[in-house]
């Protein structure tokens, strides 16, 4: 089973690495923010799988911390991609 989890973790990481290509090529900043979001989710999945392969009991706490901070980082990225730092990135056009 350890080998299976190791292989699954490598596979998920490979997917995340491929997603990073989108950052390199992404024509807009939105693509880069999406790649950051994929990093967070793929990272949590890979972390849980690696933790299972290494038989580390406290891995759920690390995954919880990562989930919270990945949410924070994704929102920071969205705010940074907005036209000005204090703008509302989700502003509706109420025209």
């Amino acid at each position: 089973m350890t080998e299976f989890f190791g292989a699954a973790a490598v596979f998920v990481l490979a997917m995340v690495a491929l997603g990073l290509v989108r950052i390199l090529r992404g024509p807009t900043d939105a693509d880069r923010v999406m790649a950051a979001q994929l990093l967070g989710t793929g990272g949590i999945a890979a972390l849980l799988l690696v933790g299972e392969a290494t038989a580390e009991p406290a891995i759920a706490d690390v995954a919880l911390t990562l989930a919270l901070l990945a949410a924070f980082a994704a929102i920071a990225f969205v705010k940074a991609a907005a036209p000005t730092p204090d703008a509302d990135p989700a502003a509706e056009d109420r025209a």
């Binding site: 490598v10 990272g43 972390l47 919270l68």
Partner: protein, 312 residues
Amino acid sequence: MIAADASVALLIVALGAWVVVARATFAAVTGFLAYGLLLTLVWVRLHGVDVALTEAAIGGGLTGALLIGAAARLRNTEAAARAERPGRLVRAVAALAALAVTAALAVCVLTLPVPAPSLAREVAANLAATEVGNPITGVLLAFRSMDTLLEAIVLLFALIGVWSVAPDGVWGGRPGPQHRLDPDGILAYIARVLPPIGIIVGMYVFWVGADHPGGKFQGATIIAAMWLLTVMAGLTDMPPISRRWLRIGLVAGPLAFIAIGLYGAVAAGAFLAYPAGFAKPLIVVIELALMPSLALVLALMLAGAPQRSDLR
């Protein structure tokens, strides 16, 4: 598992090279975020779960947000920065210096003694005296508590360094811009839903650090991130740095640590020694005092230097 470890190592090296080479700052910062994530995995593989927690919290969330904020502020100058090209001599000297440092590091790593010298056995033998179950917490707050005290003070100095960049006219004012957001919008929604969960998780990670991986530093980082989330969504504003409660909060933690150290000098014979039987209560008091100060320091460092004068 060899294949898994090898591919992670390869990915880290490739990502590191890419972060250096990438020209667009946004792309480089995202690559750096991925790098921190991969390092978390490496720490888990090496059974350093406390370090993995800290890497996930600081390297993943906080540093990423810090760098991306800096990249956003530098967006106007990016075209000019990309256009400049250093002369041939400068580049040659830089390449030589980088090669020299790499060679020195390689020599140091390759000539490390095998087995590596370690105090792990002494720590394991004496851990029972500290009444905590997590050896990391034992080292940080009992055997090497002096280092932790100095780190807390260094963080304060770093914060003062960040503040010193403020223009004279706005000294004492509020860090960061005024975030104006739709109070019914989606960002305000998540800034109301996530922080309560985050605060509970932060306190839990802090409390569980006595016997399992965790501790005050990781807990403080989570709480600081939640506070910054509410500020980014416009629900609260950063306080002006001249406020007395802010400054008292910043120094209260290190001062309590120093006070306990002096008490130890009187009661147990050495600065920061713990009298027998009092180790765990004193450690808990130190952690309880340090955590709010740490959360304040980290959040204020991320918010940056004052940008708006306090008009009140």
